[in-house]
């Protein structure tokens, strides 16, 4: 119920205003700069020549099709793998279920390009498995570079994402619905097809969108494993950073094309899911059952098989970190030398990662709490537009945002390029949509009457917020903040454009060492990053007491 008396102008109006100004400066202005750059020539004339160029050469527009092809393939494969995974994990009694859940999470949260680089170590031209198969069986393994490699790495990385969505949705399906279906003669596969799948459709669509956006925007994987198979983010990066002087305008034009593509997919998904959404809340959630025989074995094989594949690259990276190296080559025997060098060279990067991450997290949490509150409790035209603003980064790939920020902040008075500030801004903007959504969801769950009770007891609006609403929100927001932290420390696609020698982060350091071929040091750095991720996630589990979360 709208309570218009509470909506009188108060401190919240000013907070709303300040946040809108913040968004205009760090998001809208850069995106407009990007758009301007894409449609002007060097001498400031309006021109669509970059777009014309893009669509006239196969080398360029072929990249668009490459991106679309691999992104769609990843999305479809993730849905196909994740759906049985979630169904089995919900309805089957699995051995070691808690550990399975945690491992699935870890495989999702680990930086994707580490997966890519690890698969190269395993299945690449000189990979461990490749050599093993060749030496012992004389069999050649399928080519891991290009489309196949990107598909493999991203699918393993993003399947857990849809899986998380599906687990949430399955928990909201009331068991009585399934029992009702069974009582009407729908069992087994027919039950799943006729009842479970339709109920999951909106969730699958939402999850697919998320996977699509991530796959489309991913830079590290295609960069490392794609080789000749160029995707849009890689091309944007190459055009912008090109050693032959780079072409900002062309990179900007490709960026605009990517945004338009992402936006159309976003709107399409929204259109479809608006027509197919159900509100569900289960009184009797589906219970897991002990299954027997072949069904049970197959279920275990499926889940354990997927997880082994998903976690294998991380494990192999950790293993190689302890190998003895001679120059760039792994030799037999174990040592901690890689770690020694890693701390030596990457100490600064480690420190940067922690500092930037911590500052970004504080800003993200603060803004997310405020915006979450404003958009739920103070609904009006202004806060609705703020809500829309905050969702924009969702469809802007990291590399595009990086370029936009560089174009916007490369001259005085807003000269930020090369500073830590611009990196932190990028982290904040990229993570905010997710954190805002989860904090808004938390505010939704707080009954407005709790705040009205405080008001009726004489507490001012601000006091009500700080003494009542904020303390109730905080536990949920903080456990969400840990997840944001994990994503921020594994961010690559924006930082690779924004970093300088002074502001190098862990992911950049790993990437640089991989490119240089220093696999031992890269593995040691990656192991440290994986360790931080795992510890953070364990803290998250401890804090939230949950075995799953919304992204």
């Amino acid at each position: 119920m709208a309570s218009n008396v509470l909506n009188r102008r108060d401190a919240w109006s000013y907070i709303t205003f300040i946040i809108i100004v913040f968004y205009i400066i760090v998001l809208i202005f850069p995106l407009l700069s990007l758009l301007k750059e894409s449609v002007t020539t060097g001498d400031g004339q309006f021109s669509l020549k970059y777009f014309a160029e893009f669509f006239s050469k196969k080398y360029y527009y072929g990249t668009l099709f490459n991106s679309l092809k691999v992104t769609i393939a990843v999305t479809v494969a993730s849905v196909i793998i994740a759906t049985p995974l979630a169904y089995i994990m919900t309805t089957f009694k699995m051995k070691g279920k808690i550990y399975l859940q945690i491992l699935i999470l870890i495989s999702m949260m680990a930086p994707p390009f580490i997966g890519a680089y690890s698969w190269i170590l395993l299945l690449g031209r000189n990979g461990a498995i490749t050599n093993f198969m060749n030496d012992f069986f004389g069999v050649s393994t399928p080519d891991i570079y290009g489309f196949n490699g990107i598909l493999l790495v991203l699918t393993l990385q993003l399947t857990p994402l849809i899986y998380m969505f599906l687990m949430g949705a399955l928990q909201n399906i009331d068991n009585s619905l399934l029992e009702a279906a069974e009582s009407m003669g729908y069992t087994g596969v027919r039950k799943i097809v006729k009842v479970v799948m339709p109920l999951l459709t909106p969730t699958i669509l939402a999850g697919s969108l998320m996977v699509f956006m991530r796959a489309l925007a991913d830079f590290g994987t295609p960069m490392l494993i794609g080789e000749g198979y160029m995707t849009l983010p890689v091309m944007i990066f190459n055009e912008f950073i090109s050693e032959m002087g780079g072409n900002d305008g062309f990179a900007a034009a490709i960026s605009v094309i990517v945004i338009i593509l992402a936006l159309s997919i976003f709107l399409l998904q929204k259109y479809i899911s608006n027509r197919k959404s159900y509100y569900m809340s289960a009184l009797n959630p589906i219970e897991e059952k002990q299954h027997r025989g072949i069904k049970n074995i197959l279920a275990h094989l499926y889940v354990y098989g997927f997880l082994s594949l998903a976690i294998l690259p991380q494990l192999y990276v950790i293993y190689t970190a302890f190998l003895k190296t001679s120059g760039r080559i792994f030799v037999s025997g174990y040592s901690l030398d890689s770690f020694r060098v890693a701390f030596d060279r990457g100490g600064k990067a480690l420190l940067n990662t922690f500092t930037f991450g911590a500052v970004a997290i504080v800003i993200v949490v603060t803004i997310a709490i405020l915006v979450g509150y404003i958009t739920v409790r103070r609904r009006n035209a202004v806060t609705n537009s703020l809500d829309t603003f905050t969702m924009v980064p969702y469809i802007v790939p990291g590399s595009v945002l990086g370029i936009a920020l560089l174009l916007a902040f490369n001259s005085k008075p807003l000269l930020l390029s090369g500073t830590a500030t611009i990196l932190i801004i990028a982290f904040v903007i990229r993570r905010l949509p997710y954190t805002i959504r989860s904090s808004a969801a938390i505010v939704y769950q707080i009954s407005p009457s709790v705040e009205e009770a405080a008001a009726s007891l004489g507490a001012s609006n601000m006091k009500t917020f700080f003494r009542i609403t904020l303390p109730i929100m905080l536990p949920g927001v903080l456990s969400g903040a840990i997840l944001s932290w994990v994503t921020i420390i594994s961010e690559l696609s924006t930082s690779i454009l924004l970093y300088t020698a002074r502001t190098q982060t862990m992911t950049i350091a790993i990437y640089t060492e991989v490119i240089r071929g220093n696999y031992g040091i890269a593995a040691a750095l990656a192991t440290i990053l994986i360790a931080i991720t795992v510890v953070s996630l364990l803290i998250f589990f401890k804090l939230s007491g949950k075995k799953e979360f919304s992204i």
Partner: protein, 369 residues
């Protein structure tokens, strides 16, 4: 500390929709006043306007004569109890009850004393240091009540405070609320859709329908002499029958059937029309199953349900209408379906309404507005 509240032609709109088209009534000092009506009738809106959570689009609300339309809730000195308790989940019982007092710049010792005293009154002193999640619904609602009353507010506002509790607890709590309200003597505005609860607890009841008050009166008045058909059917159960009143030999007669008429001298109809259409409201307990003589409306028992204290019948009258009847149960006295019966009514209890306006046309009955 207790005040009177007056509504003068108060209007509430949401956009273009007028929810309350113009409401005027007065709540006296110390009165327990209940707004009773079906969901969506606007009763909660009215309560929230008194609290200051809803704006007022026209007219004025006064506390002891002072207009409060523009005062924010924080400044109105109200105590509010919500349907979902709205206790602060992160504070102990003591913390909850002391929250408002801490705003009043009282020292810690004073607050502690007042809080404990209040917890004693609502009988939850033993839970003082617990968090709300460790309390039952009834106990949480006591915390909410204590939290509101400890502020010594001008008016206590309660929005369906008992509807989340189970049936037995509801009765305990409503007695407790009534008792505490009487002790403290605080003006109380109470909102409910439960007519039995309203009758048990209130000094005065305002029956609302579609944003308007149909009748204000004490519980007896609204039950026994409902001002309109709506009130008659909303409070308790009533059989509404369309019948005729005829003027014969200087007297009014209500024809319940062709062969059964009753004299109705209490009708407030001035012009002795030859014949007029009326609606008659007869509550199930106002029928008498006549076993002594041949007087009454002919009917056949269609269904009988034994409910312990009472027996509940549905009887089909000779013209095909079904009516509900409640009789006290007797040993071996329950009538079987298909039994033919003669029905009389308790003349002085039934109510007669104008057929068109549906307002009560018995002498001396008003809507109290």
């Amino acid at each position: 500390m207790s005040i009177s509240i007056e509504f003068k032609n108060v209007i509430k709109r949401y956009g273009d929709v007028t929810v309350i088209p113009g409401l005027s009534f007065k709540i006296e000092k110390g009165e327990f006043f209940t707004l009773l009506g079906p969901s969506g009738c606007g009763k909660t809106t009215v309560l929230r306007m008194v609290a200051g959570f809803n704006s007022i689009e026209g007219g004025e609300i006064t506390f002891d004569g002072e207009v409060v339309n523009q005062k924010p809730p924080q400044k109105r000195n109200i105590g509010m109890v919500f349907q979902d308790y709205a206790v602060f989940p992160h504070m102990t019982v003591k913390g909850n009850v002391g929250f408002g007092l801490a705003n009043k710049k009282m020292n810690k010792k004073e607050i502690e004393e007042k809080v404990l005293e209040m917890l004693d009154i609502v009988q939850i002193k033993q839970f003082a240091d617990r968090l709300p999640k460790n309390l039952s619904g009834g106990q949480q609602q006591r915390v909410a009540l204590a939290r509101a009353i400890v502020m010594e507010p001008n008016v206590l506002l309660m929005d369906e405070p008992l509807s989340n509790l189970d049936a037995k607890l509801r009765i305990d709590m409503r007695n407790a609320i009534r008792e505490i309200q009487k002790d403290v003597g605080i003006t109380t505005l109470y909102v409910t859709h439960d007519q039995e609860e309203a009758m048990a607890i209130s000094d005065k009841i305002a029956v609302m329908n579609q944003g308007k008050i149909e009748q204000i009166g004490n519980p007896q008045q609204v039950y026994q002499r409902p001002a309109s058909i709506f009130v008659a059917t909303f409070i308790g159960r009533a059989n509404i029958l369309r019948r005729k009143v005829r003027f014969e030999n200087g007297e009014h007669y209500l024809y319940l059937a062709d062969n059964y008429k009753i004299k109705t001298p209490q009708l407030a109809v001035k012009e002795p029309d030859k014949e007029m259409d009326v609606k008659v409201s007869i509550r199930p307990e106002e029928f008498i199953i006549n076993t002594e003589n041949n007087d009454g409306v002919d009917g056949v028992i269609k269904q009988s349900t034994f409910l312990g204290l009472n027996v509940h019948y549905i009887v089909t009258l000779e013209n095909g209408e079904d009516v509900e009847i409640i009789q006290e149960s007797t040993i071996d006295g329950t009538l079987e379906p298909n039994t033919k019966v003669k029905l009389k009514v308790k003349k002085e209890k039934i109510n007669i309404f104008d057929d068109q306006s549906e307002s009560n046309i018995l002498r001396g009955v008003t809507n109290g507005l």
